[in-house]
């Protein structure tokens, strides 16, 4: 078990491209931290540098306060689980799990004891003498986990360990990993491109984009107070809705009407000297069918009339998709860049599609106009040029 800290860590390739730029991060002993971001954001490169599989071009990597930049993977005492599992196909499950211990010249009875313990923990006991080729995807994944835990290492590094499993198994393994980590209390770094995995597993989440740290924080922090447009669009499912707007005299003017902002927000915006052009974000869950919102709560928000073109019923909730016209000549560059990276599909055009998450008791119907209430206290404001969050 150990603390890991990255100080100005940079990965620069010979052609000059930087996969990871000046990354600073302190990981506490026993912490479960998730690196998340779209493909090519540098999360796997960062993990490989911590593992020692890639050289660190600049900066320092410390484990338990000791600089380990120059140490080879075998001297860092870390275990890694790969996306492809990377089981040795010519060895049985038992031999696979014993491999790191044999390399370390551990006595035979100790190896047997540890392999048995890990196999029991992961329900692999009856498969110990089989070869990886004869195992199912989930079993292979567990063998890969087993090979990591027999070591009793300083830290676990997991590189998208669940991406090759089907959806149901993935959810199941997610809880297994969570439980395992709580039990073993080993510092864990987990890399994924799936924000749901990140939200459910991590004590803290590091969001990366193009090699740069966007935000570090607990899942709730990232959800409630995204530091910028990118984090806002990446975290949450369905993603946050975005629309350009204008700030003037404590009012927000945007295609869904003029909305008075809470006094606290206005004060902070003034302090920050916020620009006039902003991008407004609102999460699908901050909408509701206006007919179902009553009393004082209704006063906290605004009501607009929309016409949903698609309604998706998920049983516990209904997702309503409705078009919203975009204002002309708005500065949308950053928004479109983010949309393309995050994959929210906000295509350039005169309309955006908004998603609202409504209670299943709603009477809304496709193609018929109805009133939607939105919680103006939950609006997120971003600088239209830089994408930075405003008024927080």
């Amino acid at each position: 078990m150990s603390t890991i800290s990255l100080e100005h860590v940079t990965k620069r390739y010979p052609d000059g491209t930087e996969a990871v730029k000046d990354l600073n991060l302190n990981i506490a002993d026993g912490e479960f931290i998730v690196f998340v971001g779209p493909s090519g954001c540098g999360k796997s490169t960062a993990l490989n540098m911590i593992a020692g599989l890639e050289d660190i071009s600049d900066g320092e990597l410390r484990m338990n306060q000791k600089v380990v930049n120059q140490l080879s993977p075998k001297d860092r005492d870390i275990a890694m689980v790969f996306q492809t599992y990377a089981l040795y196909p010519h060895m049985t499950v038992r031999e696979n799990m014993a491999f790191p211990l044999k390399i370390a010249h551990m006595p035979h009875d100790e190896i047997d004891r540890r392999v048995k313990e890990a196999a029991d923990l992961l329900e692999l006991a009856e498969h110990l003498d089989r070869k990886p080729a004869n195992l199912s995807g989930g079993q292979r994944q567990r063998v890969a986990m087993g090979r990591a835990i027999v070591r009793d290492p300083q830290a676990f590094l997991m590189d998208e360990p669940l991406s090759n499993l089907d959806a149901k198994l993935r959810v199941q393994m997610r809880t297994t990993i969570s439980r395992l980590q709580q039990r073993l209390k080993v510092t864990t770094i987990y890399v994924t491109h799936d924000q749901t995995e990140a939200m459910t597993l991590g004590d803290r989440i590091l969001v990366l984009r193009l090699g740069t740290k966007q935000q570090v924080g607990s899942p709730q922090e990232l959800y409630d107070y995204p530091a910028n447009l990118f984090v806002a669009g990446f975290i949450g499912s369905p993603s946050m809705n975005f629309m350009p707007g204008e700030l003037a005299d404590g009012m927000l003017k945007w295609p869904l009407g003029e909305v008075p902002l809470p006094a606290e927000t206005v004060r902070r915006l003034e302090q920050e000297k916020a620009p006039r052009d902003v991008i407004v974000g609102i999460r699908p869950e901050d909408f509701e069918d206006a007919a179902l919102v009553e009393g004082p709560k209704r006063e906290q928000g605004a009501t607009i009339t929309v016409k949903a073109d698609v309604l998706e019923s998920l049983g516990s909730e209904i997702l309503a998709y409705f078009p919203v016209p975009k204002p002309k000549a708005a500065q949308m560059d950053e928004l479109q860049r983010v949309a393309a990276e995050v994959g929210t599909g906000d295509a350039p055009g005169s309309e955006s599609t908004f998603v609202a998450r409504l209670s299943p008791t709603t009477r809304a119907q496709e193609g018929i106009a109805f009133n939607v209430w939105l919680n103006t206290h939950k609006l997120h404001l971003f600088d239209a040029k830089t994408g930075k969050a405003l008024g927080r």
Binding site: G52, M80, A86, L87, P89, F99, A104, Q141, N164
Partner: protein, 296 residues
């Protein structure tokens, strides 16, 4: 090449018949006939050779497919004295030594080529392929002179060294294709598991490359075993002359008798090691040894 490809094709065929519905009888008969004709066409010359080898010297030219009288006399003839025995030993020795050296060096070179980035890598591959394609005949005269000066003419190393030069590119090329198939993640996993570069190669990579090593061994051995041009040009006596070359020096009982029976018997004998070699190694050439390493 066919010897190597055959097992894989056979597995594929087996898999296909297992999943496909039964063929209609008409088509089955058609296929059976086509197969029979092809097999007969390929095996006929081999049978002719075997029949010749077993015919008594007096009935050699009777033109029948089946020896009227089975006789070992051709075989006992070639094994009488050292005219064939010594070249056979030379062939086995030179073939095995060349194969071992070539495969060991080739494995290491191919691993480096498949796994490492180093300056001049593509040039190295290019040059080695160029050597493999060089027409042997253009090198015979210079090699003859070089070997005479160095005292290598008519010795085992005198053949082993040029054989290595020609078989190494082949070995490197085939093996690097096999190494490239081995998932890179396995190496990373072994590295994180604490293995040194040597342990990674010996415990993880080499066992997985065994089918490739077996295939390459067969190819290299066959090349050395069958090689005729250098064998006849760079040797002068039975000290280093290999079996194919020696067969060219067979003489009949008198200068007017053609030694066809002895040649046929020798041809049968020199085919046997190839058959044994392929049988030993083909078991290792199991398709999909790396299955299960990655993904589900």
């Amino acid at each position: 090449m066919t010897a190597v490809a055959a097992p894989a094709a056979r597995t594929a065929r087996r898999a296909r018949t297992a999943t496909q519905p039964a063929m209609p009888t008409g088509r089955k008969v058609g296929w059976a006939a086509a197969n029979a004709i092809t097999i007969a066409w390929t095996l006929f010359p081999i049978w002719w050779l075997i029949a010749l080898a077993f015919k008594a010297p007096t009935s050699l030219t009777d033109g029948s497919f089946w020896p009227n009288q089975w006789s070992w006399s051709n075989f006992s003839g070639i094994f009488h004295g050292t005219a064939f025995v010594r070249p056979l030993i030379n062939s086995i020795g030179i073939g095995l030594i060349s194969t071992v050296i070539s495969v060991v060096l080739g494995t290491m070179a191919a691993y480096a080529i498949a796994r490492l980035k180093f300056p001049g890598k593509s040039a190295l591959i290019g040059v080695s392929l160029l050597i493999a394609m060089f027409p042997l005949i253009s090198l015979v005269t210079p090699l003859f002179n070089v070997e005479r000066v160095l005292g290598l003419f008519n010795t085992w190393p005198g053949l082993i060294i040029p054989y290595l030069a020609f078989s190494l590119p082949l070995a490197i090329y085939t093996l690097s294709a096999f190494f490239r198939e081995i998932p890179w993640d396995l190496e990373k996993a072994a590295k994180v598991d604490g293995a040194s570069q040597r342990q990674i190669f010996l415990k993880v990579i080499a066992p997985l490359a065994l089918p490739g090593i077996a295939t390459t061994s067969i190819l290299v051995f066959m090349f050395c075993w069958n090689e005729f041009l250098l064998a006849i040009s760079l040797t002068s006596t039975n000290a280093a002359r290999t079996a194919p070359a020696a067969m060219g020096f067979f003489t009949g009982v008198s200068q007017f008798t053609f030694p066809i029976g002895s040649i046929a018997a020798a041809a049968v004998i020199i085919t046997i090691p190839i058959v044994i070699f392929v049988m030993i190694f083909q078991r290792r050439i199991v398709a999909g040894l790396t299955a299960g390493a990655v993904k589900g």
